[in-house]
C-alpha cells in the first residue's frame, strides 16, 4: 500500500495529477512520448553543427587546464558541459579517444578529425544526450505551466512540444545548448505561477547568467509579480543579481568582467542593428526593436488583471518581435516555443504559421552558408559533404543569393508580426475572461 502511494506520488509528480489519474490521457501521453523520443533518437548520432564542437572544445580546455574562467560569457553553461564531459570521459572510452581532438586549437583540423573518427556517432550521441535529458525534463515541466484541471489540453501542450520541429532541429540536428537555459527559465515561470516572486526572479536571473535571452522577459515577469512599489526595486535588482554575481566573481577571481563583453557581444548587437536613421549621415537613430519592446512592455503594464496566461502570451510576443525584427541565429528560435505551444491549444491557426516559420528557417540557413547546411551532414561522410556542390553556389548561379534569402526573411518577418497580432487578440479574450471571473467573484 505504501509502495502504491509512493508510486502514485511519483507519477503525479512527473505527469501531473490530472493526467496521471486519467488512464486514457496517461496512455496517450506515453504514446506521444515514445514517438517523440524515437524521432529524437533517429537524429541523435548523425548530425551536428560546428558550434557543438566549439562548446565541448571549451569544456575540454577547462578540464585540461583547470581554468574555470575559460569562457566568461557562458560561464555556467561551460561549467555544466565541463562537468558532463568529465563524467562521460571517465565512463566512455569513445569520448576519451576523441579528447585530444577536442584540444586541437585549429578549428578546421579539429572539425575534420572529429568527423572522420570511426566513433563519431557514439561521441555525438553522448554529447547530445545532455540536451535530451534537459528536453525531457522541459516537456514535463511545460505541462504545469497552463490548463490546470484540463488533462486533454495539457496533453495537447505535450504533443506540441514533443513534435515541435524547432525543438527537434535545434537540439538534435543543429545541436545547440539553449535548452539548458530554457529549462531554468521554465522553472522561474513555474515559481512565478505559484507566486514565489523572489525565487522566480532569482532563478530567472540565473537563466540570464546562462544565456542572454531570458533578460528580454525579465521586465514583464517583474510587472507580473510586483505587489507593492518596493517590489519594483527589489525584483529588478534580484533579476540582474545572477549576472551581477558573475561580474563580481569574475572580477575577483579572473580579473575580467562579464557585463561589458556581453554588451559588446553579437547577441546584444543584434538588438541594436535594425535602426531607423533620422537624418542621413547624422548620429540620430531609433533602434527599432527597443522602440517596439517598450510598446510591448507598456501594453503589458496597462493590463489591469494580469493572469499567468497573459504573461505567457506577452513572453511569446516579445520573442516573436525579436525574431521578426532582429537578426538571429537558428537556435534562438527555441526561445519562443515554450510560450507558443500553450497558445496553439487556444489558437490552432498559430500552429500552421509556426510550421511555415520553420520551413522559412530552413531557407534562412543559407545566410550562414555551408557551415549550417551541408556540413551538418558531415559526420556521415565528411569528404562527400564538404565537396558536394552547396545550395549557395547553385542559387548564386541564377540569382543573387542574399536577395533570395532576404525575400524569405521578409516573409518570415511578416508571418511573425501577424502571429503577434493573433496573440494580442488572444490576450484580449483572456483579459475579458479574467474580468468576467472577477465580476462573478464579486457578485
Amino acid at each position: 500500500m505504501a509502495a502504491k502511494t509512493f508510486f502514485n506520488k511519483i507519477g503525479s509528480l512527473i505527469f501531473t495529477r490530472e493526467i496521471f489519474q486519467d488512464k486514457k490521457s496517461l496512455k496517450t501521453l506515453y504514446r506521444y512520448f515514445l514517438t517523440g523520443i524515437l524521432i529524437r533518437l533517429v537524429f541523435l548520432p548523425f548530425f551536428f553543427q560546428r558550434d557543438l564542437l566549439s562548446t565541448y572544445q571549451r569544456a575540454a580546455e577547462t578540464i585540461s587546464t583547470g581554468n574555470l574562467g575559460y569562457d566568461n560569457l557562458q560561464f555556467i553553461s561551460n561549467m555544466i558541459h565541463s562537468v558532463y564531459l568529465f563524467i562521460m570521459r571517465s565512463i566512455f572510452p569513445a569520448i576519451n579517444e576523441l579528447f585530444s581532438t577536442l584540444l586541437v586549437k585549429d578549428t578546421w583540423i579539429s572539425w575534420l578529425s572529429f568527423n572522420s573518427a570511426y566513433n563519431v556517432f557514439t561521441t555525438l550521441t553522448l554529447f547530445k544526450l545532455l540536451y535530451l535529458i534537459f528536453d525531457i525534463v522541459c516537456m514535463f515541466l511545460i505541462l504545469r505551466l497552463s490548463f490546470d484541471n484540463k488533462p486533454e489540453k495539457k496533453l495537447q501542450v505535450f504533443k506540441f512540444w514533443i513534435f515541435n520541429p524547432i525543438i527537434i532541429f535545434v537540439l538534435y540536428i543543429f545541436a545547440r545548448h539553449d535548452i539548458i537555459a530554457v529549462f531554468v527559465t521554465l522553472i522561474a515561470l513555474l515559481l512565478a505561477k505559484k507566486d514565489r516572486k523572489y525565487w522566480a526572479i532569482i532563478i530567472l536571473g540565473l537563466a540570464v547568467a546562462l544565456r542572454f535571452f531570458p533578460i528580454l522577459i525579465l521586465p514583464v515577469l517583474v510587472l507580473y509579480l510586483v505587489r507593492s512599489k518596493k517590489d519594483y526595486i527589489i525584483l529588478s535588482l534580484a533579476g540582474v543579481s545572477g549576472i551581477a554575481a558573475l561580474e563580481i566573481l569574475f572580477r575577483f577571481c579572473f580579473g575580467t568582467g562579464v557585463i561589458f563583453p556581453l554588451l559588446n557581444a553579437q547577441h546584444f548587437e543584434y538588438l541594436l542593428t535594425p535602426r531607423l536613421d533620422l537624418v542621413a549621415g547624422s548620429h540620430g537613430s531609433i533602434f527599432i526593436f527597443i522602440a517596439v519592446y517598450i510598446v510591448i512592455i507598456l501594453s503589458f503594464l496597462h493590463i489591469k488583471k494580469k493572469s499567468f496566461d497573459i504573461l505567457l502570451n506577452y513572453c511569446a510576443i516579445i520573442y516573436l518581435a525579436y525574431l521578426g525584427i532582429c537578426f538571429f541565429h537558428p537556435q534562438y528560435m527555441i526561445w519562443v516555443v515554450p510560450f507558443l505551444i500553450i497558445i496553439f491549444v487556444r489558437r490552432k491557426s498559430l500552429l500552421y504559421y509556426h510550421w511555415v516559420q520553420f520551413a522559412l528557417l530552413m531557407v534562412l540557413l543559407i545566410y550562414w552558408g555551408d557551415l549550417v547546411t551541408k556540413y551538418v551532414f558531415a559526420p556521415i561522410d565528411h569528404k562527400y559533404f564538404v565537396y558536394l556542390t552547396g545550395i549557395i553556389p547553385i542559387i548564386e548561379r541564377f540569382y543573387d543569393s542574399a536577395a533570395f534569402v532576404n525575400i524569405f526573411r521578409s516573409i518570415f518577418t511578416g508571418i511573425s508580426l501577424w502571429m503577434i497580432y493573433l496573440i494580442y487578440k488572444d490576450t484580449k479574450i483572456l483579459q475579458m475572461n479574467e474580468l468576467e471571473i472577477k465580476e462573478i467573484e464579486k457578485s
Partner: protein, 236 residues
C-alpha cells in the same frame, strides 16, 4: 482534408526517399552545374572520353595534360574561348590551359582514342593539385595521386561498383560497422521503442498480447543479427 493530408505526407516521404537514394543510383553520364560545381569532371560516353571543368564563379585557371599509349584520333572542344584558352593535340597527348571567370563557367573537350591500354591525367587547378576536385566517372570518384592513370576498361568497371561501395554510403557503413557496440545498442533501443509504440497502439486490442510481444522481440534480435551480417557484407 484528411485525404489531402495523407497524400501530402506520401509525396513528402517519396521526395525524401528520392533525395536519399539519388547518390546511390548515380546517373548515366555526369551531373554538374556550371557556375556552381567546382573542379574537373572526367567520364566516358559512347567510347569517347570527356574532360570538362567548371567553377562556382571564382576565377580559376585549369591546365594540365592527358597522355596515352594509344592514338588520339579526333577531338572536339566545348565552350572554348580561343582568345584565352589554349589546347595542343598531339597523337598521344593533349595539353591544355584555360581560364574560367564570372562570364565563362565551364570549358572542356572530348576525344576518341584507339588502341590504348591506359590514359594518364595530370590535372591542375590554379597551378596546384586538388584531388578532391577531380571527379572521375559518373560516381565522382577522386584519384589518389596527383598524376593518375586509368586503364582502358576503368569506366566500365566503375559502373559495376555497387551503391553501398560509393560515397557517402561506403563511409557511413564503415563507421557503423567499425563501431559495432554502438550500432547494435542504438538499433536495439530504437527497436524497443518501436515495439513499445506497437504495444500501446496496434497490439493493445489483441488477445494474445504476450505472444505478439515475444515475437516482436525475437524479430528485433533477428534484425540485429541480420544487421551484423549485412554490415560485414557491405564493408568488406
Amino acid at each position: 482534408m484528411k485525404r489531402i493530408s495523407s497524400v501530402l505526407k506520401i509525396v513528402i516521404f517519396s521526395i525524401f526517399i528520392f533525395l536519399i537514394m539519388l547518390p546511390a543510383w548515380g546517373c548515366r553520364g555526369i551531373f554538374y552545374i556550371p557556375g556552381a560545381s567546382y573542379g574537373y569532371y572526367v567520364w566516358e560516353e559512347d567510347s569517347r572520353i570527356f574532360v570538362e571543368w567548371s567553377i562556382d564563379q571564382k576565377e580559376s585557371k585549369f591546365d594540365g595534360s592527358i597522355s596515352t599509349d594509344g592514338k588520339i584520333t579526333d577531338h572536339e572542344l566545348t565552350g572554348w574561348e580561343e582568345e584565352i584558352d589554349v589546347i595542343k593535340v598531339e597523337e598521344d597527348r593533349i595539353v591544355f590551359s584555360a581560364t574560367l571567370n564570372d562570364n565563362d563557367y565551364s570549358d572542356g573537350f572530348n576525344f576518341d582514342v584507339e588502341g590504348h591500354t591506359y590514359l594518364e591525367f595530370d590535372l591542375k587547378i590554379n597551378d596546384g593539385y586538388d584531388l578532391n576536385r577531380v571527379n572521375v566517372g559518373e560516381f565522382l570518384e577522386n584519384p589518389e595521386s596527383n598524376v593518375f592513370k586509368i586503364e582502358k576498361d576503368y569506366f566500365s568497371q566503375l559502373g559495376m561498383k555497387h551503391w553501398y561501395q560509393r560515397h557517402p554510403f561506403s563511409e557511413f557503413f564503415y563507421k557503423l560497422s567499425s563501431n559495432k557496440y554502438f550500432t547494435f545498442l542504438y538499433l536495439f533501443i530504437l527497436g524497443i521503442i518501436i515495439i513499445e509504440i506497437l504495444r500501446v497502439t496496434v497490439l493493445a486490442g489483441k488477445r494474445r498480447k504476450i505472444i505478439w510481444l515475444a515475437a516482436s522481440y525475437l524479430a528485433l534480435i533477428l534484425i540485429e543479427i541480420c544487421v551484423y551480417f549485412i554490415l560485414r557484407f557491405l564493408v568488406k
